[in-house]
Amino acid sequence: MSTETLWVFLQDVILSGVVAAGFAILFNVPPRLLFACALGGAVGRVVRDLLMGGGMNIEPATLIGSLVIGIMGEYFAHRYKTLALIFTVSAAIPMVPGVFAYRGMLGLIRLSNATGETGLMYLTEAAINLTKTGIILGTISVGIAMPVLLFRRTKPLV
């Protein structure tokens, strides 16, 4: 790994932690739990970055990253005797596919004014980006929801 990639990598780790902490503050997370939120965000993003650096596509990498966030959330929930949601929601934010969502939306709007020639291009652009947004958001929520089901298998209470 060259110094430059290492620097970019380090920057991503720190930024993800800061982003997760910022959103935790937006969601009114009590101060004693902030660090755990930041840690979850940083580790989840690092896992995804490493997998994508190793040549994996963004979708499976996001799934594995959010599984890690889900497992960490369960651990922190157990340790601090609180809800896993507190840690997982803010930790998932650094993986949100902002640019894909934006491109998809823009593609749809252009599509409505397109002519026959440009229409196909815009349709493809919108379809690709919206599908990517949908799949990434879906994998994030599936990845976060799964670990609980594996660890807490109690008889239905209600």
Binding site: V19, L85, L149
Partner: protein, 281 residues
């Protein structure tokens, strides 16, 4: 009445799933208190962003810890119905709930409270006082502190999405101002979707103006990151949590809420771009 007497009461002992009669029966007054407190707890959880399974479990745990034998709970996206059962007696009540937004501090407090009730540390009257205190929690952090952190977080996301330094700085400005507008609108009791659209509009106008000054080579990252504090993370994650566990009604409702929020963000951004005249990026 002994435990055997209760267990043999006609109609009560029929259902093997309900372990009735294991506790001293509560009278109607006590039962009224139990259902009131349980629904109050459920209301807080539904209002501030817990998923359905969590709400069901917590309401059930509180009711049984306060002396009821069993609770049946029905959770819809904007109301909770519960029946408390103790011995032969039962009471049913509905509570209407309006989802307000996310407040993790309140969710964390409810979890602490339920642990204390189950360990027998607090009784019904103290639970009422505690719920009153928790209901009044608003913000843990100072308003300006939140604005600054939201600005930093969105700027960080801009960088993570690949924006250059000018775009990062512009995102900080756009999203901080937009967050201030959001807080102002929240105090005016606007419809939440209008609030989201207006916030995205403000963020969009500021970023579009900065893009027209041609300070950045990554306008896409700037525009998309400046509205990310509106991203419906909690509804989308809760939607999946609910759907996976078979709570399809609340799951779908939450998913649809998330989609509406996303569309409101897009609408606000679009209006801003039309107004300022940034197109075809």
């Amino acid at each position: 009445m002994t435990t055997e007497d209760i267990a043999t009461v006609e109609g009560v002992s029929e259902n093997p799933l309900h372990p009735l009669g294991s506790k001293p029966p509560l009278d109607r007054e006590e039962l009224r208190d139990v259902i009131d407190l349980s629904l109050w707890m459920g209301q807080l959880l539904l209002q501030y962003g817990a998923h359905t399974d969590r709400i069901e479990r917590t309401v059930h745990r509180l009711g049984t810890a306060l002396g009821a034998d069993w609770l049946d709970i029905l959770i819809s996206p904007n109301a909770i119905v519960a029946t408390t059962i103790s011995g032969e007696e039962f009471r049913t009540k509905i509570r209407r709930v309006v989802s307000i937004g996310v407040n993790m501090a309140i969710l964390a407090e409810t979890e602490t409270l339920i642990e204390r009730v189950e360990s027998g540390e607090v009784d019904r009257f103290e639970v009422r006082a505690e719920l009153k205190r928790i209901s009044l929690i608003r913000r843990v952090y100072n308003r300006w502190y939140v604005i600054a952190w939201v600005g930093v977080a969105c700027a960080g996301l801009c960088r993570l999405l690949g924006g250059d330094l000018a775009a990062v700085a512009a995102t900080f400005i756009a999203s901080s101002v937009a967050m201030w507008v959001r807080q102002e609108l929240q105090h005016q009791y606007f419809n939440p979707l209008i609030n989201v659209t207006a916030t995205a509009f403000v963020a969009g106008v500021i970023s579009s103006l900065l893009i027209r000054l041609q300070i950045t080579t990554t306008p896409l990252q700037l525009l998309s990151a400046s509205v990310l504090m509106l991203v419906p993370g909690v509804p989308l994650i809760n939607s999946m949590q609910d759907t996976i566990r078979g709570h399809l009604v609340t799951g779908f409702a939450r998913g649809f809420t998330g989609m509406l929020i996303a569309m409101s963000i897009a609408l606000g951004l679009l209006l801003a771009m039309l107004l300022v005249g940034v197109e075809g990026l």
